[in-house]
Symmetry: C2
Subunit: 244 residues, 2 copies
Amino acid sequence: MSASPHALRLQQAVLRPVRGHHAFEACVEQLATAIRLGVYQRGTQLPAERELAEQLGVSRATLREAIAALRAAGLVETTRGRGGGTIVQRRPARRASVARRAIRGRQADLLDALDFRSVVEPGAAALAASRELDDATRTVLSESLEAVSAAPSGEDHRQCDSRLHLAIAAASGSTRLMAAVTQAQADLDEMLHAIPVLRPNITHSTAQHKSIVRAILAGRPTTASRVMTEHCEDTAALLRGLLG
Amino acid sequence: MSASPHALRLQQAVLRPVRGHHAFEACVEQLATAIRLGVYQRGTQLPAERELAEQLGVSRATLREAIAALRAAGLVETTRGRGGGTIVQRRPARRASVARRAIRGRQADLLDALDFRSVVEPGAAALAASRELDDATRTVLSESLEAVSAAPSGEDHRQCDSRLHLAIAAASGSTRLMAAVTQAQADLDEMLHAIPVLRPNITHSTAQHKSIVRAILAGRPTTASRVMTEHCEDTAALLRGLLG
DNA sequence: TAAAATTGGTATGAACTCCGACCATTAAGA
DNA sequence: TCTTAATGGTCGGAGTTCATACCAATTTTA
């Protein structure tokens, strides 16, 4: 029995590279992304090597190579002894020219990333809204919202924005959605740095954020999903025009 | 500066194991899943080793170990020479008892999988409906729908069902959504085998499938999403009750 | 002040993975 | 029939990654 054309299509789509070869590179990317998105803010300390290695599921030797790369890139600094550790030094100074080169020839992939985001972020918001959130989570959402509203435009605003979206995903309680949103935010961040939009409508964006968080806290999944969809689509429309 | 509780939460959620070490195991799992979901049907031939190795992003040596494991498990048979290759021999004979053991203590993870599915499958359906689909894709969707409608209940029906859902995801044109739906179907398949639902309402399910495909072919994203959401929730409600 | 604890730094050998080249087998085509 | 081509089978060396120690530096604490 030979495979039908239909089967062939599925097979090519289902089978995916098993691994982004080199655990080392994957570690560098995860940590650099976490720093870029503001998960680890400037001046804060990374977990101890042994702990971080366990979280990432790699040996300490491999993690150390990754940290060495971050150190060489000037992203972190390391001190020894008790109370020492690896400290986030500054955000990667990504020049727009470098960022533009990084996205060259990846239009299709980036458009895919925008589509993916428009699916998972509203889904995460809706799920978060359908949960009984504990006080700690509610506080995190409120504080994240406040932070992004208060932050000036630019790099800081972008990081606060990421943190809010990640906080919403975390509030959904879904590990898978959290991973999906993290990926979406990383892709989005890359695009926003490659294509510096002159003056994003932060006022509008902030209003949407408020509306989303309010819907989540009030337990209104439909509203949360709808507004988040609009929010994602606004950004996507902007970027799609500049990617073409 | 020390990390706030909020930051700690994000950090633990964002950082994820870099890989399920052992490319070998990952290959076995991907191939076994593809066979279980009916991507490779019984009697069909897997791609040549060199080709498959490239698709999976591993060396031929590693892929061969994975195939050897599948062969040892009786899932495939291999012949040499031109026209030879590795042929899918039979579906894994998973006994319910074994499947039940596999999901023991994973309730939270499986509930997560159901939530994730209810996000990505409707999203994929909506996206597919918003595309200008070419004739080949339209044909695939129609044929997949027919196959699942025609299949009797049981293992065959389950495979056809998976294939339809994967075909819809493929029609969305999004690599990321395709991967997400593949993962969702794999998780779902595991649950359905562990918890053999006596008599799923196949009539109802088939009506939903028809409605979804019709909406996609007619270019109605909202309808496609809504019906797919209902479709996923029906299954999820059934399984949630049996997982608690 | 000295001991304890915690952190990063180093080293070694085993296991895994990769790559490339070559061999053996078999079916298709000239 | 004979040649060609495609397939799986085998081998060896190089590079990664891992696990497990142990060392060094520094702060905390008794």
